[in-house]
Each structure stands twice: as C-alpha cells, then as structure tokens.
Symmetry: C2
Subunit: 386 residues, 2 copies
C-alpha cells in the first residue's frame, strides 16, 4: 500500500427530511449566499422550504448556475458576495452548483489577482482561505458533497479544469434521497454513470495494491449495477434512491483511492469533450472509458479480469476471453443506461481529435497510473471511440 493522508471533515446528514435540520447547522449571525441552478428547486418546492426554514437568517440569492458551471457566472457571484459581505455559502442543487460555490468561496478571499489562477496554475497557486459552505444535494453524481474538489469551465477559452483544497470541504452536506425522486431518467442515469466512472478511475490500475480498497470499489460498483435498473423503473423507490446516493458520495470521498494508484485518463479526456462539444459530463465519460480499457489492456489486464470475476461473475478460464467478456458486460451496462459509447452515434467526426489531444498534453504530465499516456495514446483512445 502507498502512503496516504485522509482528511474529510464533512458533517453528513443523510436521510428523509434531513433538510429540516438546516437552520441549526448554520450560525444565525452569518450572511448567507444562497446558490442554486435552474428553476428545478422552485418546481420541487425545495426553494420555498429552505426559505421558510431559514426565516430569520440573512439570505442573498444567487440562482441560475449552469451545468458545468462557468467561470464568468462564478465571478458575477463573487462580486455580489463581496458587495453584500457574505460569510457563508449555502449550495442547493447538484455538483455543478456546489462546484461553483466552492470556487466562489475560494475566490472571495483570493489575493493573487485572477482566481482562475487557482485552476490554471494549481500546482503553485493554492487556496489559503475560503468562506464556509453548506450543501443540500439534489443530484447524486459528482461526489462533491464529501470532498474538497471542484471543476469549473470557461466557455470563452474552451477549458474545463479541476482544483481542490482542504478548505473547500463543505462544513455540512444534507443528503435526502427524497429530493432525488423528481430527477429525470436522463439525470438519474448520468449520475449513476458519473459515480461508476469515479470508482473505475481509482480502481482500474495495478493488480494487488490495496485488497480492502479493491473490495470497497467493487462493492460500490456492484451496488450501482444492482440499484440502477430499480431507480430507472421506479423513481420513487426510497431505498434504491438512498443506495445510489450513498454510492455516489462514497465513490469520491477519497476513501477508495487512499493508498492505491489512480488513473484519471477518462475524466481528463472527458472534460475536453465537454469543453469542445458541450457534451454532458457523464456522456463524455461513457464514450471514453471503454476505449481507455481497450487501449490500456496490457497494464490493466489482471485487474480488469479480477473485476470481471468478482463483479460480473465471469468464470471463463481463459483470461483473454474473460477480459473481452468483461469489457462487453461493462460497455453493455453503460448502454443500458442510455449512454452512447461511440462518437459516430453522436455525429462527431475525428475533426477536432488532434486539438483535444494537444490541449491535454500541453498541460504537462502524461496521463495514466504509469504516466504512459501521451498525445499518441490519447489519439488512439479517441479513434477507438469513433
């Protein structure tokens, strides 16, 4: 096992009606920036409920945060927050609203010029202070509710970058599965795929490095595979919604990746697809993951066969055949959730592949747990997905 540090102080309140506790979780003297996305929290009456619960608290609203939250939107919120003297952010929504809130929280106190530096030069420019954040989660997917990471997009420069800090863990996260009953089938499927791929990228590397971490990862994946058809057919099934929600949180709270190698190639390329084509995040992952596995077959061979045997109960003795059978099962699972796994299915050609690969490599380090995925390998992965 590799050396690691694990620190996760998020106060998680999970379950039906947990939102009722919100007033006691935020000190009365705080001036709160209440961030949210589209009108969905108004339709579901969550907006109204929170306003009622926080009666007597000092609220400033900032709605309209888009999916793949944009730097420009965030900077507008920073201006509002500074003008109003905000000292708490309450994020109500999915990972996009929360990621935006994290950036806003860091940007309010940033003293090194343009806060974009926190993403652009994340190796040297660090968060030193941030406004505390509370979260009410409505979409299980990103895992942002129990970590200190955030991903922000810039549509003007076609960039989508991640950053993180110990100061950006939410102070609390309220996870009520009932709030996810109103998600569309597409949102539900996207969330499951996002969580699924998070686990994959911390798990599908070398064989034999962390037996407990492996089993926890396999446990999350098996549970997602088991619960996915249930929530897709019965969106009001509380237990299945709860299981999916907890899986998504556990997928990216740092535990399964502690002490083991990781390979974020799929996310790194996926982010570029979103930046380039405006493709939904989960859908960008679903198109890339199968090709990453195929391209990296040699280095991931033993681990992928273990995955097939333990998760998909593949018993075929010949490991190469078992590998192919597992690959098919894995890809079929993504497709069963409505994911397209080929560019051609979405009318995308190879036209921008070179630019995509170029954008990734010019940021420096090679990708993959062995740092062996450079421009040529990225191109191979992209072409495999055509």
């Amino acid at each position: 096992m590799k050396n690691f540090e694990y620190y996760n102080p998020v106060d998680v309140h999970f379950g039906k009606d947990s939102v009722e506790k919100i007033a006691q979780l935020i000190p009365k003297d705080k001036k709160i920036l209440f961030t949210y996305g589209t009108d969905s929290i108004k339709k579901s009456r969550l907006y109204e409920k929170i306003k009622t619960l926080l009666m007597g608290h000092n609220l400033v609203e900032f709605g309209g945060i888009e999916s793949n939250p944009d730097y420009t939107t965030c900077m507008t919120a920073v201006e509002v927050a500074k003008k109003e003297g905000v000292d708490f952010i309450l994020s109500v929504g999915g990972g996009s609203v929360l990621d935006a809130s994290k950036f806003i929280a860091a940007a309010i106190h940033f003293e090194g010029g343009d806060p974009w530096e926190l993403l652009k030069n994340k190796k040297s420019v660090k968060v030193k202070k941030a406004v505390p954040i509370g979260c009410v989660l409505t979409l299980p997917a990103a895992g942002s509710e129990m970590n200190g990471y955030s991903v922000i997009s810039r549509r003007d420069t076609k960039e989508k970058l991640a950053f993180g800090s110990r100061y950006l863990h939410p102070l609390f996260s309220i996870l009520d599965p009932v709030l996810t009953f109103t998600l569309t089938k597409e949102q539900t499927a996207n969330g499951i795929v996002d969580a699924f791929v998070h686990v994959f990228e911390q798990y599908m590397t070398h064989h034999g490095e962390g037996p407990l971490q492996d089993r926890m990862s396999e446990g999350i994946i098996k549970t997602l595979i088991e619960e996915a058809p249930k929530v897709m057919t019965d969106p009001d099934d509380y237990d299945s919604r709860a299981n999916v929600m907890w899986c998504a949180t556990m997928a990216l709270n740092g535990l399964i990746g502690s002490g083991v190698p990781q390979d974020w190639t799929t996310h790194m390329i996926g982010h570029e697809l979103t930046a380039m084509y405006g493709m939904d995040h989960a859908r960008s992952l679903a198109i890339i993951l199968p090709s990453v596995i195929a391209r990296q077959m040699d280095s991931k061979f033993e681990k992928f066969v273990q995955y097939g045997r333990r998760v998909w109960h593949i018993t075929t003795e010949d490991k190469r055949v078992a590998f192919r059978e597992t690959w098919q099962k894995n890809t079929d699972f993504l497709r069963s959730l409505g994911m397209l796994t080929r560019f051609s299915e979405q009318g995308i050609t190879n036209e921008n592949f070179d630019e995509i690969a170029e954008r990734i490599v010019k940021r420096g380090e090679k990708l993959g747990e062995n740092k062996d995925i450079g421009k040529n390998e990225i191109l191979e992965i992209l072409y495999k997905s055509l």
Copy 2:
C-alpha cells in the same frame, strides 16, 4: 436505509515513516501530555524517536497506562495535566492508551463533579469540551484512532463502560504499519479478532438494509481472513501489516455502521467478562460471538447465510446446512488465531453467569438489533459458551 449522521474529522497520516510529520502536526505553543503504556515503546525506540522529533515542544510524560485502562490511572493523569496546564494530549500506543487519553481529555474540562458520570450516566451527561488529542498508533485493533469513542474500566467496581463524543475524535492519527512489526503473535491475533468482531456487530443484523454497507463489511472481513495467516507467519510483511491496520481503522470509523441496524451484544457481554475475570478483550469477544450467532439464529438467519455465501463461498443449497457450515468456518477462523471459544477451555464455570447477566440488564435497555436480548437470553448465550 435508516437516517444517519456521519462526521469524522480525523486527519489520518498512513504509511511508513509518517511519524516524521509529528512536529508539524502539533502547534509549537502547546503544552503536551505525552501518554503511553508499558515499556514496549521504549524497547522499540519509538519513545526516543518521538522525544527527538518533538524537541523544542513542551512535554509532560505520563506512562504506565494499562490494558483496559483504569479510571484511577486516568484520574491520576488528569491531576497531572491540570497541575501542569496541559492543553494537548499525545497518545502513543494502542487503543488502551488512546481510550485513556480521550477520557483524560474530557475529564480535564468536566465540570459536573466526578467525570465517571460521563460513562455511568452517558445518556444525560455529555462532554462539552475536551483537550485536543493526537495519536500515534502501535496496535491495530480498537479503531479508536478514527472515532470519538472510548472504553474505560473500573477494577474497584468491576465495571467496563463506553462513552463517546464529537469532541473526542483525535485531531490527527499517525498509522505506520512498521510500528506494528514488533507486536507479539498474541497481540497481533487479538487485534485482528477485535477488528473482525467490530465489523460483525455492525453487519450481522437484518438482511437487505444497506447493500453497500454490507459489501464494505464483507470486504473488511475477507481482507482480514486473507491477511491474518500472512502476518501471523511473517510479522515483517509490510503490505499485510498495512492491510490489517487499515482494516482495523475502517472497521470502527462509523462508515460501515451508518444507516444500518447494529447489534453490540458480543461487546456488551465481553466487557463484563473482562471486568469479572480480567479476560483479554479480544478473547472475551471470541468466546461470546459464536454463541450470540447460535442463540440469535432466527433473526440473523438470512444475513448469516449471505455472509457464508459471500465471504466463505459456501454453496450448499439447503440454507440451514449452509448456516451451520458458515458457523463452523467462522468459529474455526477465530480458533486459528489461537482464540478459545469455550469457557471450559479456560477453566471458567457458570458460577458468575447470573451476576454478569444481572449487571447488564440493570443498566437498562435490552441488547440486540431488535432489543430482544434480556437476562434470560444473555444467560442462554453464556451457557452456550460453557
């Protein structure tokens, strides 16, 4: 899934040489009570190393904390700490030293008379403030390094009681597997059994309540079963030591028990055996667990069969036979670690059984996930272990 709260702010530093970071983890201006147990940290030179690393820090030593730490010892430490104006406790040792340190940390600031009230009347008397604690762990077993719980014994009244608080999570815990190389075979086995039973008591209840929690629990147990023979035959195997250490921490950091029923019957009866006979903690659990499973067969039937199928690969179709086969495998595993699973093997008769059962029931609530284990059932369990 049941509603739950999960909060665990411990800053974990895991791996070889992590102790080197200790000076930067404790603020320079703190007056530190350096707590430890027997001479083993002197023999292993850890004592010396820590003194060197903390040169320049203000240290007050308090050694000699015994296994199943005693109230009287702790109260002596509280006196020293108050006299010296201690505002940080550094616990170096296993769960006993850390549990004692937690009690000391709470007792220093306790204003309601005798701090024993925190254990005796834990439902009404709560910790409101505690001195911050840092931990260097030398024995993977109790899981105290990543939770806010503590168990303290009183030899004068033959009591062994637990209490817990959000204020008692260690600020940091340093987990270096190398520090466990010098444990005796008996200490190593005891630690594995303690962790194993911790998982069991959060897992072996109703069937179907938390599929992810189940798989995480099964993952810890499978890993312990796999690693146990390795560390027992090769005590310097770093990876196996690391896996056992991380399993023991994960077994009681609150995660696997979140959202699911729990049944701490084995620990509750085990504590009484330690208080009554001075029996080692793990050994008290090993003698009780098999009988709890046998006595509670009806309510735990489906879950125990699931455990047998998933962990021990029992394929026998007849569930009642599968149950018995699993029970045997489980008991054999405990015995493979040198545990005795019958009182008669230790020369203990039924003489004090009534008093033991009486002591538990007079504390109030019945035991078990269904609260159906009262005096008669406790006696049945004890007699099954004769």
